[in-house]
């Protein structure tokens, strides 16, 4: 990561702090439900919104979600 990107990264992660966030493991608990909602479409239930917020901040969990969505496609 370039030095200027590091500054942006740390400021993004810092200034986006919300009062109520969930961690990676809590996010993972609802990963499958979240992926099914993305696959099937339709409005996201309110409780899964926290999963979406976590994914916006956590590149590792986002990577896992994208791979999961690919894995799901193999069934079709």
């Amino acid at each position: 990561m370039k030095e200027t990107d590091k500054l942006k990264f740390v400021l993004d992660m810092t200034m986006s702090v919300l009062p109520h966030e969930i961690g990676c493991d809590d996010c993972f608990e609802y990963f499958a439900a979240y992926a099914d909602h993305l696959t099937n479409g339709g409005p996201l239930p309110e409780p899964l919104r926290l999963v979406g917020e976590h994914l916006a901040r956590c590149a590792a969990c986002m990577e896992e979600l994208q791979l999961l969505l690919e894995a799901i496609k193999a069934e079709n």
Binding site: E29, E64, L67, E75
Partner: protein, 222 residues
């Protein structure tokens, strides 16, 4: 709990290997919880689904077929171990694939970062002091000031563990690897980093930088 447990879904999704009878999510749980040939057939089918899914998901990564096979085996053991925790708020197969995906990705991340210590990660993630000769030459004055505020906050407002974890993230290390190095789990690491982010934010705001001002500096051309 974000989502209250719901009854197991019953819509058909999969078929058993020996008939065209649809296998529902409830069937999966029932068959895998049973013994004998019923469970063996379900495991065989689930293994096929996992191998196909992971092979597709990781087709552009260094994951080879041996790693996929090993990960599928580990994932199936986890599925059996955790089957009572399946709440039914997703398709059963999606739940299984989520476990398989995490297993193989965690293994790949561990292998990639195997020889890198937390100290090395943390060092690689350090921001350069704004006044040092390593600071980018074309750094604008305001950006340089902002960099200095952030650098000072990282050094003075974070605990050593928070600093190490945040700088390791800046170096691109994944959370499962950082958590392993710190002897903790991803949730505890997230809490550690969350508290660090909150401290940094307070320090930056205390230094007189508003969120709007920061955005304008970051968005400005260098």
């Amino acid at each position: 709990m974000l989502v209250p447990p719901v009854s197991l879904l019953t819509r058909p999704r999969q078929t058993t290997t020996d008939s065209s009878k649809p296998r529902t999510d409830e069937d999966w749980v029932s068959d895998l919880s049973a013994g004998g040939s019923c469970r063996d057939q379900a495991l065989t089918e689930l293994r096929r689904i996992l191998v196909a899914g992971l092979a597709r998901a990781f087709r552009q990564s260094p994951a080879n077929s041996a790693l996929i096979q090993d990960s599928v085996q580990d994932a199936l053991l986890l599925v059996i171990d955790r089957i009572q925790t399946y709440r039914g708020d997703s398709r059963f197969v999606t739940w299984v694939l989520s476990i398989g995906t995490r297993v193989i990705l965690s293994e790949m991340r561990r292998a990639h970062w195997r020889d890198v210590s937390l100290d090395e990660m943390s060092e690689a993630g350090k921001l350069p002091p704004a006044t040092s000769q390593t600071a980018p030459m074309n750094l604008s004055y305001e950006r340089s000031q902002l960099l200095q505020v952030v650098q000072t906050a990282i050094e003075q407002d974070l605990t050593p563990k928070q600093r190490a974890a945040i700088q390791a993230e800046l170096a691109g290390a994944p959370p499962d690897v950082i958590a392993q190095r710190l002897g903790t789990n991803r949730n505890a690491l997230y809490k550690l980093v969350y508290d660090g982010r909150a401290r940094l934010k307070q320090a930056i705001l205390r230094a007189g930088w508003s969120e709007e001002h920061i955005r304008s500096v970051l968005n400005a051309n260098l």
